[in-house]
Structure formats: structure tokens, C-alpha cells
């Protein structure tokens, strides 16, 4: 395509965006809304994922051995424990060590006369996969000699469940919203084409190629998608920082909320990618239908 035509075609695309001001506004707004919602879900998932990982990292399993077992017998239970699939490491803690850590830094005199025999031998387990903590817990309970298994699984589990649900929900919502955006942009382009169908007919009659006829509509779709992407990016940024502030102020330390700057690049890429995709495919959808003849 020659240089002077490129400028002309680009200009035609820009002019169309302003000429169909209301539809363009609607298309960009819908695109922004869709992208903001999609990105919000992505960000929630991302942060929740980090939170789940944090919580699980701190998750330990403590196994208490039957109090009738001697230290040597207890240690032999350890080899059975190590045989379990998901056990990465089982650290033996003897009764006296357990007592020592139970007393900790407190005043020794308070615990005067406390017999290590009142404690039980223990194993502190680290897991290969923290997500399978529940299965591992019940497997441990079935090992002979194991009296009790303590695992702090509720918070981690709940968060992991929420995360999974959110993942699926966001995928579904993202898909629906993408389709909505596509349809809206495609309709905007279709209106633009209908508006200019006489012009298009004349262009065809005098021998304009299809790619020449299409190009301004691509530009129009591209501009709509592009503005949608840029606006949604900054709106998302502002919104996110507001919510982050609010969450930090509640003092709920268990929730991880990374600053937006940490996800700036991926967010920009996602916004740009989705904007281009919506813009280009939106116009393609109606152009294909329209230029059949």
C-alpha cells in the first residue's frame, strides 16, 4: 500500500470513530467494562493464589505418637511415615524437646516438676504438595503408632476452594464478556458499514480492492479496542489501588495484596492483547459478512 493511501485510510478510520460518536462511546464503554471486570477477576485470583501459597507454606503437620511407645519405638514409626507418598521430610521431636519448646521462653519455675513423660514423642512433617494436605492427614492417621495428627488445614483449604471457584467463574465471565464486547464492537462496525454502504458500492464499482475497502473499518475497530484497552488499564489501576488500600487498612494480614506496579506489565499486555483482539475480530466479524459480494 502506498504511503499517501495509508494516511488516507487511517484518516477515514479515525473520522468514522468520531462520526459514530455515540456508538463509539458505547463500544468503548462496554469494552472498558468488560476488560475491567475480567482484569479484576484475574487480579483477585492472582492475589488469592499468593495468599493460598503463603498460608500453605506455613502449614505444618504435627504427628503425635502413642504415649506408650518408647523413644526408639517412636523413631521406628518415623520410617513408616517417610514411606508415605506426600511426605517430604519427617523431623523427630522427642518428649523432652517437645516439653522444652512447649515451655519456650517462659519462666522455668512455672513448669517446675513437669515430667517429660506427660508429653508425647512427635514428628513435624513437611509435605511435597501442600494442596494434598487433607489426604496426607488421613494417611498419617492410619499409620500404626500414630495417636493424633494435627494439621492446620481449614484456612488453606477454604482459600484453595475459593480460588478454584474463582478461577472457573472468571474464565466463564471472561468468555461471556469477551463475546459481548466482540458483538458490540462488531455491531458498531456494522453500523459504520451500513452507514457507508453506498460509498462501499461505489468503491467496488470503480474497482477498489476488498482490502482497501476493509482497511478503514479495521482501523475503526482497532481504535475502539485500543481506547478500550488504555482506559480499562488505568481505571483498573486506580480501582485496584483503592481496594488494596482498603484491605491493608482492615489489618487482615492473612490476605496478600501486591501493589499494582508489581503486575503492571502483565496487566498492560493483557489489556492491550484483549483490546486488539476485540477490536480486530469485532470488525472482522462484520466486514466478512458485509463484503461477501
Amino acid at each position: 500500500m502506498k504511503h499517501n493511501n495509508f494516511g488516507y485510510l487511517l484518516g477515514e478510520g479515525f473520522r468514522a470513530v468520531f462520526k459514530h460518536g455515540f456508538m463509539s462511546f458505547a463500544a468503548i464503554s462496554i469494552t472498558v467494562a468488560c476488560l475491567v471486570i475480567i482484569n479484576s477477576f484475574l487480579l483477585i485470583c492472582y492475589n488469592l493464589n499468593l495468599t493460598v501459597e503463603d498460608v500453605q507454606k506455613e502449614t505444618r503437620i504435627v504427628v503425635c505418637i502413642d504415649e506408650s511407645y518408647t523413644e526408639a519405638e517412636s523413631k521406628s514409626v518415623g520410617s513408616d511415615i517417610n514411606l508415605l507418598d506426600n511426605v517430604a521430610n519427617a523431623k523427630f521431636i522427642s518428649r523432652s524437646e517437645a516439653l522444652q519448646s512447649f515451655i519456650g521462653d517462659s519462666d522455668q519455675s512455672l513448669f517446675e516438676g513437669l515430667d517429660p513423660q506427660s508429653m508425647r514423642d512427635q514428628f513435624e512433617i513437611t509435605l511435597v504438595d501442600n494442596a494434598k494436605i487433607a489426604e496426607t492427614k488421613s494417611a498419617l492417621e492410619n499409620v500404626t503408632g500414630v495417636a493424633d495428627v494435627y494439621a492446620d488445614i481449614e484456612v488453606g483449604n477454604a482459600l484453595a476452594t475459593i480460588r478454584t471457584v474463582l478461577y472457573i467463574a472468571s474464565l466463564a465471565i471472561a468468555a461471556v464478556l469477551l463475546v459481548v464486547s466482540l458483538i458490540i464492537i462488531s455491531n458498531t462496525i456494522r453500523l459504520a458499514m451500513l452507514d457507508r454502504r453506498e460509498e462501499i458500492a461505489i468503491m467496488k464499482m470503480v474497482g477498489a480492492t476488498n482490502s482497501f475497502i476493509r482497511f478503514p473499518f479495521f482501523v475503526e475497530g482497532f481504535i475502539l479496542g485500543f481506547f478500550g484497552a488504555v482506559l480499562s488499564f488505568f481505571i483498573e489501576w486506580g480501582l485496584y489501588e483503592l481496594i488494596r488500600e482498603a484491605i491493608l487498612n482492615t489489618g487482615l494480614e492473612v490476605l496478600t495484596v501486591v501493589p499494582f506496579t508489581e503486575v503492571l506489565l502483565p496487566m498492560a499486555v493483557i489489556c492491550a492483547g484483549a483490546g486488539f483482539f476485540i477490536g480486530i475480530f469485532g470488525s472482522l466479524m462484520s466486514i466478512r459478512r458485509f463484503l461477501k459480494v
Partner: protein
């Protein structure tokens, strides 16, 4: 050069619009295509511009075989034709100059070429002083001159006009015909569809008469019925 050999066209509705047309038009000719309403004249034009494909037969337009033309070649074939319609088909919000320039621009002409060519063609059709007007500020005859200028702007080998004077009074119609005759004298082949017998009889030109999708007469004998 145009060559139609045993061309038929049946529309999806089942209408047999053309039933075996044979017609040959050499470069430089001026031909009237006449016939009753519904005889198939516009169908022939739509076949020549590749808006429709023939049901059978073969069509040659300026070296392009239309029965087997590739979609991507159609625009280039169309650049060898200038087409004019009864209803002018101008872009209402563009000036006369822009309407004509538009046809050059959309086939990729440069601004320089456009600036050089448009005034020349506007002068040829007698609109050198009306370039800045909008179509609705012109008479019907003038609007048709704009359409003729647009058809000529890319220097086609042939002008095809489908009832170019259908919306004009006899005096304007005659002027448009004179203009087409002048264009023909400058070397462009011209084919004019009309059913105005009076107009055809004022010229001594080849007349191809179509009836029910067939050529029933072809010659210099005027509008025979």
C-alpha cells in the same frame, strides 16, 4: 472489447432473464442496447461488471474471462470499465470534486495524480466551475455529468451506462448523449442502455435490441420494434 457467447442467466427465483445472448463489441464502438422493461438489459450489465455470474456461456471483458474470473481479479477488471446509472449514485456529503477524486483515491492514485486529472475530466464534462458544489446543489443533468466524470476518471477502455437519461428531461437527455458521443470520439468504447426510442433515433449508431433475454436485432437500422 466485449464478447458474449451463448450467455444465459437464470436468477435464484427461477426467472430466465437471459436465454442465449451473443454479442460482440469492438474497441471504439458506440452501441445502444434497447429493449422492453424486463427484457434483460440490466442483467447484461451486471454480468459485464461481474456483479453476477452467468448461468452458462462465456463472457470476455477487456481480456478478462468473467465466467471463471478470480475474486481478487474482479477489481482490476472493473477498472477497465466506467459505469453510469440512472440514479447517478453520488456521495451526497462530498463535493463534485471529491466525488470524482474519490474514485481515483480508492484505486490507489496519489494526490499529485488526482490534482492533475480531476480538473481535466471536470472540464471535459463541462463542470469546471462547479467542483465545490454538493450534488444536491446541481441539476439532474449536472449530477449525471459528475457521474460520467467519475466513470471516466480512471481512464477506462469502456463506458457502460444503464439508462443514464432515465431521470432527465429530453433536452438534458440529448446533452448527455452528445457528451457520451464526444467521449466515444475521444476513443472510449460506449454502451448505452435505454428504452427511449426518440433519443436513439436522433443518432446513427449501432442498436442491439433485446427481447425476453435474446438479441432480436443488431445493426445500424435504428430502433426497430
Amino acid at each position: 472489447m466485449i464478447d458474449l457467447i451463448n450467455v444465459t442467466k437464470t436468477y435464484e427465483t427461477g426467472t430466465h432473464a437471459l436465454n442465449g445472448i451473443d454479442m460482440h463489441i469492438d474497441d471504439g464502438e458506440f452501441v445502444f442496447l434497447v429493449g422492453q422493461s424486463g427484457s434483460g438489459k440490466s442483467t447484461i450489465i451486471k454480468l459485464l461488471t461481474a456483479e453476477l455470474k452467468p448461468t452458462s456461456g462465456s463472457i470476455l471483458v477487456n481480456g478478462y474471462k468473467l465466467e471463471s474470473i478470480k475474486r481478487s481479479s474482479i477489481p482490476y477488471m472493473r477498472r477497465t470499465l466506467g459505469v453510469i446509472f440512472q440514479d447517478f449514485r453520488l456521495i451526497e456529503n462530498k463535493t463534485v470534486y471529491e466525488n470524482v477524486a474519490f474514485a481515483m483515491r480508492v484505486i490507489g492514485a496519489s494526490n499529485k495524480e488526482i490534482k492533475k486529472r480531476v480538473p481535466y475530466v471536470l472540464e471535459l464534462v463541462g463542470l469546471e466551475n462547479k467542483g465545490r458544489r454538493l450534488p444536491n446543489e446541481l441539476s439532474g443533468g449536472e449530477q449525471q455529468r459528475v457521474a460520467i466524470a467519475r466513470a471516466l476518471i480512471n481512464n477506462p477502455t469502456m463506458i457502460i451506462a444503464d439508462e443514464p437519461t432515465g431521470n432527465l428531461d429530453p433536452a438534458r437527455s440529448f446533452e448527455i448523449m452528445l457528451l457520451l458521443e464526444k467521449i466515444n470520439a475521444l476513443g472510449t468504447t460506449v454502451m448505452v442502455v435505454t428504452h427511449e426510442k426518440g433519443l436513439v433515433d436522433r443518432f446513427t449508431k449501432r442498436v442491439v435490441h433485446i427481447d425476453e433475454g435474446r438479441v432480436i436485432s443488431d445493426g445500424m437500422d435504428g430502433y426497430v420494434v
